[in-house]
Amino acid sequence: MSNYPEILILDGAMGTELQAAGLPLGGVPEVWNLEHPDTVTAIHRRYIEAGSQVVYANTFGANRLKMAKTGHSVQELIGAAVANAREAVAQAGNPEAKVALDIGPIGRLLSPLGDLSFEEAYDIFAEEVRAGQNADMIVIETMSDLYEAKAAVLAAKENADVPVFLTMSFEANGRTFTGTDIDAMALTFSDMGIDGVGVNCSLGPAELLPMVKRLYTATKLPIVVKPNAGLPDPATNTYNVSPEEFGAIMRQMLPYGVRVVGGCCGTSPEYIRELTRVVREWEAERGQVSEDDKEFWPEDYEELTKLRDTRPTGIASANRAVWFSEPRCIGERINPTGKKRFKEALQNGDMDYILGQAISQVEAGAEILDVNVGLPGIDETEMMVRVIRELQAVVDVPLQIDSNKPEVLEAALRIYNGKPLVNSVNGEEKSLASILPLVKKYGAAVVGLTLDEAGIGPTAEERFAVAEKIVSRAEAVGIRRENLQIDCLTLTASAEQAAVAETLKAVAMVHDKLHTGAVLGVSNVSFGLPNRDLVNATFLTMALQNGLTLPIMNPNSEAMMGALRAYRLLMNIDKNSLAYMEAYKNYVPPTAAPAGNAAAGGTAGAAQATGSAAAAPAGDTMHREIAEKLGDGAASLYNAVVRGLTAQGAEITKNLLGSMDSMDIVNGVLIPALDTVGAGFETGRLFLPQLILSASVVQGAFSEIKEHMRASGAETVSKGTIVLATVKGDIHDIGKNIVKVLLENYGFTVVDLGRDVEIQAVVEAAKKTGTPLVGLSALMTTTLPSMRDTIAALREAGLSCKVVVGGAVLTPEYAAEIGADYYGRDAKATVDIAREVFGV
């Protein structure tokens, strides 16, 4: 007990104290460092006198964006703030007191939530850190976006050499405004080399108590807690917890790893005085008792401590933590190896396909996604960064970054929003030396492949030896053992049948003797065999029984997911079989399936047809013509498009492709059907949702057609390439996306540059593609100038392309005024313009 470190006492609120001294609501507190230095210094001094061992300099919002309108530089304001705090330390006569540089949120959201890039956020924080180099430590606080917090932590670690604390702000539901929970925060930052992690602001100590307990189980770092003085009264803005109550509740938190305490909004020197008294009293009592004194330690202390000490770590996205404490499915499908369609998507930058693969795996039950984009001829670093950015904008499972190139891994680790799993390091010296330091720096987990310069050892013992080497090298650079997942390598049973048992044995050895987790690429085992699912599922079960924690597999394989679910049930991991029951609540035994499915499909189809019958009365003549000319199958596809029967389009097309030429389906059925719907839309009989529903049916049909053409080796036919962008400054891009879907429906290739697109990026894409038509979208009046500038830049670059513009606030007159060639009133009109420009 004697070496138990003293709990560090922070200060209380600055903002509410300044408001009490006359700062108006919405005023800039940091300017007071220059205009009212004595007031600021006096507040610091009172905190030190009340017991604070650290005071936060008045720099919370002193970033270049928030300070732009004050006319003062970041250096000036932070310099003055730190000087004021130092002056307070001198005045209080306590030279031991420390001054912290306080870094709060930037005030703008990072992409994809907002328009600030991760790199820009890093620069802004780095500037603050450099301006605060005279501070004794750095506190990053009140963060609600994990990504922003990560930018700040990296900026602090890379630009200063002082202790760093991070505290985030959680709402009563246990999540931040952007959806991060305690576990995701703990996992992301526990291995990033900071000195304390915790919670501040938003709530009072009573509301934060359960979150502190949760955090105690999720990190071994010192915990920092700085609550508000309860909750504010919306009318009077006063807080409802007294200094005595505050101290009493804070005392209840102290057993749970809390090592740094203070107060946030609404707290004053009185709160800190009481807090100091309570903390020192608790410490004195603690010195007298043993670790298992039931009187002193709270009832749940033992249980929570056990969870904390025994649960292995995990990985996290910003919004989801995945612990390695039980078997988890890693989806293997984002990988071009052996997948022609995926290679094409990478070559064409077809993000929709890649994201579609991700979403379908998550829906099938993948808890982690492997991301491998290595392909000759593409810039792997650039592609990896792009794919990860897109993935983390739409799926919430954590990612496994799959590459053996250090430069690819570093770029990905840096911009990853959370704590990823790196796949992989191996026993080769070159790999160990270049990859382990990256894993350590970014606080990631890592897969260790049991191969080295000598290749893959044939016996379990040889692979185990490599695993041992990887573990010891990782620990030598400071990576905790629980962050390691050893891959004992699955060989193919059809080629090396005896090797399967060696792999299983190696997994068991790693599990029993090294106590790390184990990864295996499961599907490799069945390569070259019929009924691969059967072999895969059986091998998976065997490997799990031997200690496999993270199978890399195809979650869309029902047999394998079933084996994993059943294993979890049988091993009492899936408590009360809840997940299993949920997965199979609608289960129909396979023998009965065909009849059941047919019945269900028939009913659904009939219901849909009845429901939307009113949607397409004008299509009848065309329907008859198509039936006569191309047959009933074609007519029913036409019908499916016109009526928006999304479930049927792809299926009918698949059948049709057996008897009909691809281009005949496109030109003879799909486009006439779209025209029918388009005409209904133009005359006001049909509405946008119906148009888009029909477009979705065509999308389904198109993907079947493309698949068919690919399989038969035919070139996919495009009617031409169009570049689309939502202009710089505008982040609303649903309108542009609707136009894109419709253009693709008509057979155009769309190069979608996304939203908030730099002017130069539009010019470059237009140049590179040589497109005759560029489409620009803007929602707000404030971004119309950016549309004008983009058009001007296209003209200046000497490009002959036409420009079509669209968006809620545009008018034909304004479109002409800013130099556009066409005004796209709506998605349908834009397609007509494209057909005119391309002459198709």
Binding site: G26, R108, I692
Partner: protein
């Protein structure tokens, strides 16, 4: 915190271009399919601040103990006759943006419908916030919601408005460089508060210009004595009667 009531589909349909019509069965059932995921993604929150108005001038309104100054002739007109101003910021939260991003990648029709429904939802939240405010300040009549970017009120005031109600800290609302709100399904508004006790004393003909206040935003039972009784666009005899009935029965219970 505030709870999201069932989403008004007719309002969402209006955003989708249906005018006064309701969508057909297919679309409507798709909309109902979209409602649950949308509700799960919603984390509605708001922040409101009440400030005394200080006279500014022809094109400026200053607020007491607040760093925000409202500029332009339109806001001056909007706040004519008001003594206080409520500043409001409300959001559905960033989960809705994420949901919409995902749907745009996979199911465009649902993305379109969900987008419109989210638009209806944030307006409902604003209506509920105004009703709650009415309950707290029954003697004040509220104007409709005026937002930065309307008329000649600069959109660039967005940041100062958010700071004045501490919207960043309290509800996680921010702006982009171009002053757009993020999360995207969010609203900021300026609501004028007219002191009814003053108005009841100045029933004059020239005050009888038609005004438009949202239905239900007036003080309970205030219609009969209101200076705008004859001309108010929102006055509904039915709701007035109901209010009176309610008061009577309350009296009976007491």
């Amino acid at each position: 915190m505030v709870e999201l009531k069932p989403i008004r589909m007719e309002e969402a349909a209006r955003y989708l271009g249906y005018g006064g019509q309701m969508p057909d069965e297919t679309i409507l059932s798709l909309m109902h399919e979209c409602e649950e995921p949308l509700r799960e993604a919603c984390r509605p929150a708001y922040s409101v601040g009440i400030f005394d108005m200080e006279c500014g001038g022809e094109a400026e309104v200053r607020l007491a103990e607040c760093a925000l100054t409202l500029t332009g002739k339109d806001i001056v007109k909007h706040l004519t006759g008001c003594t206080k101003v409520a500043l409001m910021a409300a959001t559905l939260g960033s989960g809705v943006d994420t949901l919409l991003r995902r749907l745009q990648r996979t199911e465009m029709a649902k993305a379109l419908l969900t987008d419109a429904m989210a638009g209806a939802a944030i307006e409902q939240i604003c209506d509920d916030v105004q009703s709650e405010l009415q309950g707290k300040m029954p003697l004040y009549r509220q104007t409709w919601r005026f937002s930065p970017g309307y008329g000649d009120l600069p959109l660039a005031l967005q940041e100062d408005l958010l700071s004045a109600v501490e919207a960043g800290k309290r509800i996680g609302l921010a702006t982009t460089q171009g002053h757009m709100l993020t999360p995207m399904k969010s609203v900021t508004a300026i609501i004028g508060l007219q002191d009814m006790t003053k108005e009841l004393r100045k029933v004059t003909a020239e005050d009888g210009d038609a005004i438009s206040a949202p239905v239900g935003a007036c003080a309970a039972g205030a219609c009969a004595g209101c200076a705008y009784h004859e001309s108010c666009l929102s006055r509904q005899d039915k709701s007035e009667n109901e209010t009176i009935d309610a008061e009577t029965s309350d009296g009976g219970n007491a």
